[in-house]
């Protein structure tokens, strides 16, 4: 309704499909979901995500929602946040969670991996300075522990320990007065190289219309 075309042509979807790698059925399903979440409007706002009950009890809820409104995830090289997003941005963010294809070349696999890790990095680096500082890391750990009451001391201890580990892996020997400013993207890649992100970070996008879809 409104300015948004109620029945976008195949051409529109094909463009989107080529850009993001989804199939046409998957994009159709995502569009249904988009309409459901946005109450049939053309844009989604942050408040619309509050209507999802399962998301409410997720510890990193805030960061997930922010990720949708973060321009860095739209693959256009911009930075900053927006207040509302359209369907194209929605699908672009979702495309970070596609499963790997069967016969990927090594460099394609590596690019795929970097893309996903970039998404994770952007999620943690909230002030967009290219590094995850100690404060930001502490915030992440606090959120993870937030379900069990306030655990500030422990969160600090854990995040400090983790940060030290990153520093010792990447920087080796450091002078006592040298700063470790924060985790850059390259260091981030280094510490997570054993996790096989490309095969674990994916969500199963249904091809057929899902029978049991929740609100």
């Amino acid at each position: 309704m409104g300015a948004f075309q109620s029945a976008p042509g195949e051409h529109e979807f094909q463009d989107l499909a080529d850009k993001t790698g989804f199939s046409l059925e998957q994009i159709g399903n995502l569009q249904n979901r988009f309409k459901q979440l946005s109450h049939n409007e053309d844009t989604l706002r942050r408040e619309d995500f509050n209507t999802i009950p399962d998301l409410a009890c997720n510890p990193i809820r805030a960061q997930i929602v922010e990720a949708f409104f973060d321009k860095r995830n739209y693959r256009q090289g911009d930075a900053g946040t927006v207040r509302e997003i359209g369907f194209e941005e929605f699908v672009t963010v979702m495309s970070h969670f596609r499963p790997p294809e069967l016969n990927m070349t090594d460099e394609r696999r590596e690019a795929f991996r970097r893309e996903k890790l970039r998404f994770l990095f952007n999620m943690h680096d909230t002030d967009n300075d290219g590094t995850i500082t100690l404060e930001e890391y502490r915030h992440v750990v606090e959120e993870l522990l937030s379900r069990c009451g306030t655990m500030e001391k422990e969160a600090k201890a854990i995040s400090d320990s983790a940060m030290l580990e990153v520093a010792s892996i990447n920087m080796g020997h450091m002078e006592p007065d040298e700063f470790y400013a924060g985790i850059t993207f390259e260091h981030f890649l280094q510490i997570l190289k054993d996790l096989e992100i490309e095969s674990t970070m994916h969500v199963r996008f249904a091809n057929a219309a899902p029978m049991t879809c929740r609100k």
């Binding site: 399962d54 998301l55 009451g149 400090d160 899902p210």
Partner: protein, 688 residues
């Protein structure tokens, strides 16, 4: 007063003992009693009756008091069992002393060869060597191995691939059974094959014995080659879960001996039976697992018997399942899997180490004994060699395994997100090893129902030998040749744990945004249920609310502290770790931290140096772990904090005094939350 001759003799003996061949001498010293023991059992019996006879007749005549009296019969059984176990362990040790051998040939092959030799020696000695008794095997030798596997089963990859594993275990085994059985029967019908006399039932029961992949053999071979986790869990999971199928089919065909036709009702009942056997086994195991977890909640005052509960409850789970003919293996696995997270949260560190080592020890001894006995039983026979049958069965086993894997992977890849490649399929097909379970099941066949039992046994043994020897030896170079991904050796770091949790939550969140019930959604819900209800009941009060990340962090700290103490403190040259002070970016320093004046800084330096001297005196002479503190003491946490306090002191001084203090190589452990309460607070570096 040292006698030069004596010292020379002692020196010589010491030199001999250091020599490796002295080990083999030791081995043979124990080998002979074993052989003699078997043969002397008869002789001793005669001796006994002889003396009895004479004593009854001549109870009036005085005979001299026997100074040395042989009564071997009294200790025969435990003595022989101990001797066998000793032999098995010495053999295992011996293989590792021989350079190069263990890297080419898997241990299982060597042990079978040893069994053959020992069996041969006993036979030459004129006596009957002991057979691999099925009761002994199923009740004593198999449970430790399965419990070890189940308790340390990697849960995450197992549950992620459960669909694939079940497909291979159930559908794959069924395919094997009917393909091999059907083909054998078809070939038996041909007069040319000289296999006449095999009816369909006999073929089917033979194929049901021989189709199942054996967990013991898979463990023995795959443990040594260390392939990546996915393949390991697929082959191993399949070998564990196909027990239910094997049990049902074996009992089914045994029941139907003599019946000529099988009706649809029977088939339907068989399917129901399969569900009952597998789900019932899992249920029994889960019940015992919960009981064990509940019991461990109350053992805080009596830590010594904690491991005992784990072992006894698991064994009871196995036996209870066997009582009702349910799948004992699945029961044991379910018990171990259910029990583990709760028991580990409740028991002390010492008990955890004890359980780990006892399980590893028992399963290792069991495995060794199984392979040796397999070798010995081969020598014993009875054999009925039929070349056609044997070759056909070996060939059919291989073909059906390959076809089964290829076919099933084709279907499974449609549903899997991470597809199985051709290399994966090859390893899966290759990993279909048969072992002692097949032999024991064959041995249990009743001779009167199956007149060709001996032929079957011979064939089973040949198949086992073929898979273990040929496939076991060639798999290692093949894995290298095909460049299969190997297992990551490193332990999970705190960063990986943090990001794994972030990812889990992220994927569950995206799932809910997407709006469809996904794999992550159910995992998330299960975690929440576990946290809210189950953990409250089964874990000790104060630890039940501890989040997983924190528990992981504490465990990691403990492990690092123990490592540090075992290496004697400062001997390891780790890269100098920057203090946490350097982690704070300049911006955050200005936000809330007040500047310290020069005088205050000097005062701080003086105090810290003074304290360091004190702590230095306490710690440095006491390098050896025994004096610093036992990591396995239950009040270790307090000692850990003491050490961390000292570490913080050292680190602060390294920052503050620059070159005053040589940069200490401290282990990569972070700050301690506690402060020195009696000293003035140092705002910049202190954590409250």
């Amino acid at each position: 007063m040292t006698c030069p001759v004596l010292t020379r003799v002692i020196g010589g003996i010491r030199g001999c003992i250091r020599c490796r061949w002295s080990f083999w001498l030791l081995l043979f010293i124990f080998l002979f009693p074993l052989i003699l023991g078997e043969t002397s059992a008869q002789g001793d019996h005669n001796l006994q009756t002889g003396t009895d006879g004479t004593s009854i007749n001549s109870n009036h005549t005085k005979r001299s008091f026997p100074v040395l009296h042989l009564r071997y019969k009294y200790v025969q059984l435990p003595f022989e069992i101990s001797l066998w176990i000793l032999l098995a362990s010495l053999m295992k040790l011996g293989f590792h002393l021989l350079p190069g051998l263990s890297s080419v040939v898997p241990e299982s092959c060597l042990l079978i060869v040893v069994g053959l030799l020992v069996g041969g020696l006993i036979k030459v000695g004129g006596d009957k060597p002991p057979m691999l008794d099925s009761e002994l095997f199923f009740l004593c030798l198999l449970p430790p191995i399965i419990l070890d596997a189940g308790y340390f089963l990697p849960i995450r990859p197992f549950t992620e691939n459960i669909g694939t594993i079940l497909m291979f275990a159930v559908v794959g085994t069924l395919w094997n059974v009917f393909f091999i059985g059907g083909m054998l029967y078809g070939l038996a019908q041909l007069d040319a094959s000289r296999l006449g006399g095999l009816d369909l039932l006999a073929c089917l029961i033979f194929s049901s014995i021989v189709s199942a992949v054996d967990p013991v053999a898979v463990l023995a071979v795959f443990e040594e080659i260390k392939i990546n986790e996915l393949l390991h869990v697929l082959v191993f999971g399949e070998s564990l879960l196909n027990d239910a199928v094997t049990v049902v089919l074996y009992h089914l065909f045994e029941e139907y001996v003599g019946m000529t036709s099988v009706s649809a009702l029977d088939v339907f009942l068989a399917v129901i039976c399969f569900l009952v056997v597998s789900l019932g086994g899992v249920l029994v195991g889960t019940t015992y697992g919960i009981l064990a977890a509940l019991t461990s909640r109350f053992t805080a005052t009596l830590r010594v018997i904690e491991p005992l509960f784990v072992f006894v409850y698991s064994y009871m789970a196995y036996l209870s399942a066997e009582v009702f003919n349910l799948s004992g293996i699945m029961s044991l696995i379910a018990c171990g899997v259910v029990m583990r997270p709760y028991v580990e949260a409740n028991i002390s560190h010492k008990s955890f180490i004890t359980i780990k080592y006892f399980l590893k020890m028992w399963s290792s001894v069991s495995e060794t004994l199984i392979f040796i006995f397999l070798g010995v039983s081969t020598v014993v026979g009875p054999h009925s060699w039929n070349l056609t049958f044997v070759t056909i069965s070996v060939v059919l086993c291989l073909i059906s395994r390959v076809l089964g894997v290829i076919g099933l992977t084709y279907i499974i890849n449609k549903f899997r997100v991470v597809k199985l490649t051709a290399t994966d399929q090859f390893i899966l097909a290759f990993g279909g090893l048969r072992g002692a379970i097949a032999f024991s099941l064959g041995y249990l066949l009743k001779q009167e129902h199956f007149p060709m039992k001996n032929m079957f046994l011979t064939s089973i043994i040949v198949i086992i030998f073929f898979t273990v020897f040929v496939q076991g030896i060639t798999i290692r170079p093949l894995v290298d040749l095909l460049a299969v991904k190997r297992k990551q050796e490193s332990k999970q770091s705190i960063n990986e744990e943090i990001h794994t949790q972030v990812m889990g939550n992220l994927l569950a969140g995206i799932d809910s945004v997407c709006g469809c019930y996904g794999h992550h959604h159910w995992k998330y819900k299960l975690c929440r249920f576990n946290k809210r209800y189950v953990k409250r009941c089964l874990i000790v009060e104060e630890r039940s609310r501890e989040p997983q990340l924190l528990a992981f962090y504490n465990k990691m700290e403990l492990r690092q502290a123990i490592e540090m103490m075992e290496t004697g403190g400062e001997t390891k040259q780790l890269p100098a770790v920057p203090s946490t002070e350097s982690l704070q970016s300049p911006a955050s320093e200005q936000t809330g931290v007040p500047q310290i004046s020069r005088e205050l800084e000097a005062e701080i330096r003086r105090i810290v140096r003074g304290n360091l001297k004190k702590t230095g005196q306490k710690l440095y002479p006491y390098r050896r772990p025994t004096l610093v503190g036992n990591p396995f003491e239950d009040d270790f946490q307090d000692q850990l904090r003491e050490k961390q306090r000292a570490k913080v002191g050292r680190r602060m001084s390294a920052f503050l005094t620059d070159q005053d203090f040589p940069s200490r190589t401290i282990a990569r452990i972070s700050v301690v939350p506690q402060a020195h309460s009696s000293r003035p607070t140092i705002p910049a570096t202190q954590k409250d």
